[in-house]
Symmetry: C2
Subunit: 456 residues, 2 copies
C-alpha cells in the first residue's frame, strides 16, 4: 500500500467548487426558526433587516445538496486552502496505538481558526448586495479576527463589539483586528442604547456575549447599508464550513482511507457540522457506519446535559427561536479557557442529528484537555487551541482503547485552530493552577428556567 | 503557460535530502575563526567544549557542497515542511505592478519562524552524541521556542536564558517554551557566577543578549553531558537554513520561473544565507545574474554602516573572533520592535559575499516596515513578523519600481515568520506612537571603539 505522507496536501485544482448542504440528506430537516413575537415560523422577510439576502436563502435552503462557491470566494480560499490533513505518526507512536490518527488543521491562517471559511463567504455576499458596513460581536476573538481579515480584503467597514473582559485580557486580539482595519469596541459601550442602559445598571460590568450581540444588532439596524453577521450556530455557517469535511474526505479518498471515527469539538457547532457533513451525508444514505463524536467542555454541556427545546440564540433574548440542545439562554457558563465553546446552545443541524441518534456526545474537563494538548504539541509540533484540544483528548482516548483491544481503527479529528492567543491558559496549566468546573444540577435548573414557553 | 497556483506545495518526496553548503562555491572562503587568547585560527578542539562534534565538523567544512540530512531530521521536517511558496497575486494587484512576487513562508509551525530548521538538526546531533542537556539564550523568543520544540521532541533537557526584559514583556513566549518542557530563566539570574556578578553591579538591569549568552555558556561548561547551541550567525546554521532556498528553487523550477531579485531580512544572517544559497551557488558558477538584497533595520545597520572586521559574537566578549560586518560588540542598538534583527554582527558567510560584491544591502526604518506589513496582511492574509516585514518592504519597493518602468521582474522574498507575539509593535504602529531610531555617527564610533585589535 502507498505510504501515507505526514501531510496530505491537495492542489488548488482540488479545492471544492461546491459546499455541501447536509439538510437534504436528513430524514427530517431541523425545525424552522420561530418568530419570538408572532410564534410563527420565520420567513425570509422576517430575517431581512438583520441578515444579508443570500445568506437568508442559504439559511432556509433544505433542498439543494450542493451550493456553488463563487470564484471570488475561492480566490480568497486559495490564500490558505486546501488546508493540510495530517497523519499523526508521532502521536500514534507516543501512544503505542495500532490506530491511525488523522487531523484536519484549520489554523494555518492569521485568524488562527476555521472561522475564516465562513467569514469570507459572508463578507463577499454583503459586498455583492452593495452593503458597506457590517457589525458583529466576538468573545474569545477568533471570529472577530477572521471577519476583520475578510472585511479588510473586500473593503467593508466593520465594527466588532468585543466582550469587555476579553478585550482587556486579550489586548493583542484587539491589535490584530485593528491591523486589518476593523473598529473594536469593548462591550458594553456608550455607543448604543442597550450598552448605555447596561452600563448605568451595572457600572463595573465586564460584559457578556449576549450584551455584545445586542449592541452589534442595534448598530446594524440603525446604520445605512449595514447588516449583522454571526460566526457559528446558523445553518449557512455550517454550510460554509462543509469545505473542511469535503477536503478531508477528498484527502482520505486519495489514499484509500475510510474513517471509523470522526471527532470534532462543539461550541456553536459549525466546525463539527462542517467536518462531518460529507461523511454524515453518506451515513444518512446508508453508505457507511462511521461513529461521530461531538466533544464539549464539562463546564458548558449543552448536548450531554441540555434540553432539546426552542430557545433564543442570545442572552438578550432578541433572536428568532431555534430548536436546539440548550442550557437556556440565561445559563451562565463557569469560567473556562475555551472561550469558543462557552455557548448555551448548539447548531440546530448538529442538535437534530444528535437527537436522531446519528452521533455521540461527550463532555471533558479542561485539565484533561490541556494534558492532551501538551502531549499533542510535543509530538506533533503544533500548539493547539483549547477548543480544538477537546477533540484531541477524545481522539487520544479512542486511540488508547485501540491499544487495549488491538483494533486498527482510523480516527479523524478536526484541529480547528492554534492556541497562540490562549497562552494564559497554558500558563495556568503549567503552573498547576487550572481548575475544573462542572455545573451542578441546580446550576442547570437555573438556566432551564430561562427557556421560553413556545407553542408551535 | 501553466497558471501558477497561489501556493506552490511540494510533496514529501520532494523534500530535499541534502543541505547545500555555499562555501565551496566561493572563490575565497570566509576567514577562519580566531581564538581570542592565542590569536590563532580555531581548531575543532578549541570548539569542542562548547559545541557538539558534528556541528563543529559542519562549521569548519569549506569543501563539501552537499551534506546529507538524516532520516530522523527529515521525519521532523515532514511535520511542517516542505513549506509553502506563495505567489502574492493579491499584493501584485493592490500595487498595480507588472512584477511577479513570490514569498517562501516559514511561519507554519508553532515556533512561528525558520529557526526550527536548524534547531531540530542541532538537537538531533546532540542526542546522537549522547548529550542529555543543552543551554541557549533567547531574546525575542523565536529561537528559544524552536529549540524547546526540538528538545521536547527528542527528549533533551533544555535551559533557556531569556533576556529579562523580554521575559517580562513577552510572558506568553515563556509559556510556550514551558509547554514544550523547557526551563526558562530570566537573565541575568542568580543561577550563574556571571549572572550574580551582573546583578550585584546593576541591581535593576533588564539584561541583554550578551549577558544571556554568557550565562548559557557558563552553565553548559559546568554541566555534565551538556553543550551550548546558537540559532544564527554560524556557518552550520546557514547550512541548515539552505533547506529554505532549496525548496524555493525547486518550487520555482517546477513552474519554469527564474527569479530576477531575491530578498531576505538580515539580523544574524541565517535566514538570508539559507534562502539565497542555491541561487548564489549558481551565480558564483556564472549560471545566473540574480540581484540579491539583504535588508536590515536602520537602527542596527551592520552591513550598510558597519565595518568588515574581526569581532566577538557576544557582548561579553567570550566567543571566538569572526571576520564579519559589525558595529562592534559594545554597540547598543536603539529600541526596535524587530528583536531578531538587533544584533551587532552578521554571519561571516553573508558578510564575505557582501564584501565580495555579490549582493546589495539596504536599511529601512521601522515605520516604513510596518506600513508594508499592514498592507501585506490585508492583501495576503498572513500577519508577518516585524523581522520578515523588512523583506516585504523592499519587495514592495522593487515591485513599485517595476510599475514605473513596466518591467515584469520576478521578485522572491523570504517570509521568515509570523507576528503573533509582536502585537505590541503593531499596536504602537496602529496608534501612531511608533518612532524611528537611526544611530548617529557618534553612536557608531562608540561601537567601533569596542572592536578588538587582531593581528592575523
Amino acid at each position: 500500500m502507498t505510504k501515507i505522507p505526514y501531510k496530505i496536501n491537495l492542489s488548488e485544482d482540488e479545492l471544492p467548487k461546491y459546499w455541501q448542504n447536509i439538510r437534504p440528506y436528513m430524514q427530517e430537516a431541523p425545525d424552522p426558526f420561530i418568530n419570538p413575537v408572532t410564534f410563527k415560523p420565520c420567513t425570509a422577510d422576517d430575517l431581512r433587516p438583520v441578515f444579508c439576502d443570500e445568506l437568508i436563502e442559504q439559511e432556509l435552503d433544505n433542498t439543494n445538496k450542493f451550493i456553488e462557491i463563487q470564484e471570488e470566494i475561492r480566490d480568497f480560499y486559495k490564500m490558505y486552502r486546501p488546508s493540510p490533513l495530517t497523519r499523526a505518526y508521532n502521536l500514534e507512536k507516543a501512544l503505542g496505538t495500532p490506530a491511525e490518527i488523522y487531523y484536519k488543521f484549520e489554523g494555518t491562517n492569521t485568524s488562527g481558526s476555521h472561522k475564516l471559511n465562513s467569514a469570507v463567504a459572508q463578507v463577499y455576499y454583503a459586498k455583492q448586495q452593495g452593503l458597506t458596513h457590517l457589525t458583529t460581536e466576538t468573545g474569545a476573538g477568533q471570529w472577530g479576527t477572521a471577519l476583520s481579515m475578510a472585511c479588510g480584503y473586500f473593503g467593508i467597514d466593520l465594527s466588532v463589539y468585543m466582550v469587555k473582559v476579553s478585550a482587556e485580557q486579550k489586548p493583542y486580539r484587539k491589535a490584530v483586528m485593528e491591523t486589518y482595519g476593523a473598529r473594536v469596541i469593548p462591550s458594553p459601550s456608550d455607543t448604543t442604547e442597550v450598552g448605555r442602559r447596561i452600563l448605568a445598571e451595572n457600572p463595573g460590568t465586564g460584559g457578556s456575549l449576549g450584551c455584545a450581540i445586542s449592541e452589534a444588532m442595534e448598530v446594524s439596524m440603525k446604520t445605512d447599508n449595514c447588516r449583522y453577521v454571526l460566526g457559528s450556530v446558523l445553518n449557512h455557517v455550517v454550510l460554509h464550513q462543509s469545505i473542511i469535511g469535503l477536503e478531508t474526505k477528498l484527502g482520505l479518498d486519495k489514499y484509500g482511507v475510510q474513517p471509523d471515527i470522526v471527532i470534532g469539538c462543539a461550541g456553536g457547532g459549525s466546525n463539527l457540522g462542517g467536518l462531518i457533513t460529507p461523511f454524515m451525508a453518506d451515513k444518512l444514505e446508508g453508505k457507511n457506519n462511521i461513529h461521530f463524536i461531538a466533544v464539549e467542555p464539562a463546564s458548558c454541556p449543552s448536548l450531554t446535559r441540555g434540553r432539546y427545546a426552542f430557545d433564543f440564540g442570545d442572552t438578550g433574548q432578541t433572536t428568532p427561536l431555534m430548536r436546539m440542545y440548550t442550557l437556556g439562554s440565561g445559563f451562565m457558563p463557569s469560567p473556562n479557557h475555551s472561550g469558543g465553546l462557552r455557548y448555551h446552545g448548539m447548531s440546530p443541524i448538529v442538535s437534530k442529528l444528535y437527537h436522531d441518534g446519528m452521533m455521540e456526545a461527550r463532555s471533558v474537563e479542561q485539565t484533561k484537555v490541556f494534558e492532551a494538548a501538551t502531549m499533542f504539541c510535543r509530538c506533533e509540533g503544533t500548539l493547539p487551541a483549547p477548543e480544538s484540544s477537546h477533540a484531541i483528548r477524545v481522539a487520544m482516548d479512542e486511540a488508547i482503547k485501540c491499544r487495549e483491544t488491538g483494533e486498527k481503527k482510523v480516527i479523524v479529528f478536526g484541529l480547528t485552530g492554534t492556541g497562540y492567543f490562549d497562552l494564559a491558559a497554558y500558563q495556568a496549566y503549567n503552573q498547576g493552577t487550572m481548575v475544573d468546573y462542572v455545573p451542578t444540577d441546580e446550576d442547570l435548573e437555573k438556566g432551564f428556567a430561562t427557556l421560553p414557553k413556545v407553542e408551535y
